[in-house]
């Protein structure tokens, strides 16, 4: 399931007509877009546009009222989150996204759950193969922590990390699950401009190597525009516009959505 093996058969995430209503109120309506292998897609929109709802719908935390989600041609609409993870789609959450009482290393190690799974009885009577897997995931965890630049915090409890370090840990944990598609929900929240820029650089190195594609929800415009190959704009639960960063930034409807009408070009 690692990104290396899957490169032979590139897969795509297709979202078609996705919708969700809560008691008559449409949180999300008729959302369609694709994420191709090797892409970084940004999902932006003003607050309340329904971006996180979209994430929840795709990853199975909410059940869609309408629409379809397809991964590599297979219909995965409404499948439970752990199922989506096992298929290769892993997401992060806003804010509390890590295991606070564990250290950085332990967090990332836990993230390797799928790789280290064994039959139940092996938990109590481990074989040599199990021991080797354990050693392998420990090594992988160390490597990922280094990749994200958190090596100096390896054995620090996650509860004492700074905001920027927490964001990096969140990505590290998601990476440990060896996803094909990494879905990040506001991963740069609370980062200053320099941290955000470094974060963007890390994302670009991840794409195509440790993960196939990235779908990222963000408010930090310079980060999103600098990192994404394509951008999807949502407003009031619906898709407004889709295109390259340049196209989207120049689109007057987008400016209007953010500024509330009559905005000048940047």
């Amino acid at each position: 399931m690692s990104a290396i093996h899957a490169m032979n058969t590139p897969r795509a995430l297709e979202v078609r007509g996705l919708g969700k209503s809560f008691g008559g109120i449409h949180a999300v309506k008729d959302i369609s877009f694709d994420v191709h292998p090797g892409e970084i897609v940004g999902l932006i929109g003003p607050n309340g546009a329904g971006k996180t709802t979209c994430f929840n719908l795709i990853t199975g935390f909410y059940t869609p009222s309408a629409g379809q989600v397809r991964f590599a041609g297979t219909d995965v609409t409404g499948r439970k989150p752990y199922h989506m993870a096992r298929m290769g789609i892993v997401r992060s959450f806003q804010k509390t996204n890590i295991l606070k009482s564990l250290t950085v290393f332990e967090n990332v190690l836990t993230g390797h759950y799928m790789e280290a799974r064994q039959p139940l009885w092996r938990t109590f009577f481990p074989s040599r193969a199990v021991r080797e897997t354990e050693a392998a995931v420990r090594e992988s965890a160390q490597r990922i922590v280094h990749t994200m630049g958190l090596a100096h915090r390896m054995d620090t409890p996650a509860s004492v990390l700074s905001c920027g370090e927490l964001r990096l840990l969140e990505v590290a944990m998601a990476l440990a699950a060896k996803p094909e598609i990494l879905m990040l929900d506001e991963p740069a929240a609370g980062l200053n401009s320099q941290e955000a820029r470094q974060f963007g650089e890390i994302l670009k190195t991840l794409r195509g190597t440790l993960v196939q594609s990235i779908l990222i929800v963000e408010h930090n415009m310079s980060l999103v525009m600098g990192v994404s190959d394509r951008v999807v704009v949502m407003h009031f639960g619906q898709k407004l516009v889709e295109g390259t960063p340049a196209q989207v930034q120049a689109d007057s409807r987008v400016v209007e959505a953010y500024l509330g009408g009559g905005g000048k070009k940047a």
Binding site: H112, F124, E139
Partner: protein, 329 residues
């Protein structure tokens, strides 16, 4: 991990040596009770630490095991080496049923429903006279036949040995679980259900595993209890038993493997020392629980672990290159 492993080995080695040194039957009895309670406390610790909720219904498993062993041996003539595992298995089944219903519930609901289950079982034991002999209980649970020749001391030593084996099994299974992928998954579910799901963990599986394992172990302890005390009555489902278990886990430190052992040791001694003054003892227990919650929430072992971590964090750390690079070189 190493520290806990060494502590456990040391304690069990000491425990193994005890019967060689001690000949007094009363002391041996206390020691047997310590081992028995250690199994119970460890099994409760699994639930508390790895399901993350405080189950007040743990006596349900203990009682089920005790009654199972009593009924199987008195009414169907099963020998002890069969009844104890059967007791554990039956308790595990009860665990699956209870888990299926309660593990979807959070916090106080879980606590109340597990308590309700224990109460229901107590009422059943009290009222279903045909099966359980009601409040009179089941007396005369048989001992293995050859014990008759061993005399009282020999019998106690035998039971001590069984209890030691049970505890060793408990610690082995718990240790393996805790330091495995499954154990990490259970911790993840306990800490943050959503994150656990997003990395592929099915939360129910692991909460259930911890609960059923805890049930199995306390069921076997219950089976042992039935044969050792040779009497089983509805009091085995009583809340007072639960209280003792809670205090042991809290005092020792929940979430550690050594903690319940320390807790069992301390509480059993306290109970013996204050045996006569039951209300006074329980009153003190009540205060002890309040004091621990306020001042020593991680228990004694937790406090020790914290102190060790603080000491380790104080020493400067050299960042080592990842092992993969060193191997390639």
């Amino acid at each position: 991990m190493k520290f806990e492993k060494h502590c456990l080995f040391a304690l069990m080695a000491l425990a193994a040596l005890l019967p060689l040194v001690v000949r007094d039957q009363y002391v041996l009895h206390i020691a047997i009770m310590v081992l028995f309670y250690a199994v119970l406390a460890s099994s409760l610790n699994l639930v508390v630490g790895y399901v993350g909720e405080f189950s007040l219904g743990h006596t349900a498993f203990l009682g089920t095991g005790a009654y199972a062993a009593a009924i199987l041996s008195t009414q169907y003539g099963w020998p002890m080496w069969a009844t104890v595992p059967a007791a554990g298995l039956l308790a595990a089944v009860v665990g699956v049923v209870i888990g299926g219903i309660t593990l979807r519930l959070q916090g106080p609901f879980f606590v109340i429903v597990t308590l309700s289950f224990a109460e229901v079982l107590r009422l059943v034991a009290d009222n279903w006279i045909a099966l359980t002999n009601g409040p009179m209980g089941i007396a005369g649970v048989p001992q293995p036949e050859w014990l008759a020749e061993a005399g009282n001391l020999g019998a106690k030593q035998f039971y001590y040995g069984i209890a030691w084996v049970l505890l060793a099994l408990t610690l082995y299974l718990s240790f393996r679980f805790v330091y495995s992928n499954a154990g990490r998954a259970a911790v993840a579910v306990r800490e943050n259900r959503y994150v656990a799901q997003s990395i592929g963990i099915r939360p129910l599986s692991y909460s259930m595993l911890a609960l059923v394992l805890g049930a199995l172990l306390s069921g076997m302890a219950g089976g042992f209890y039935a044969h050792y005390i040779s009497f089983v009555g509805p009091e085995v489902f009583r809340f007072a038993f639960m209280v003792s278990m809670i205090i042991m886990v809290l005092i020792g430190g929940k979430g550690t493997l050594v903690g319940p052992l320390i807790g069992a040791l301390l509480v059993t001694f306290l109970e013996e020392y204050l045996r006569e003054a039951k209300e006074l003892r329980l009153s003190i227990f009540g205060l002890a629980v309040i004091a621990i919650v306020l001042f020593l929430p991680r228990g004694l072992m937790g406090f020790v672990m914290q102190w060790r971590e603080a000491r380790k964090a104080g020493t400067p750390k050299v960042v080592a290159a990842p092992k993969a690079e060193r191997r390639a070189a």
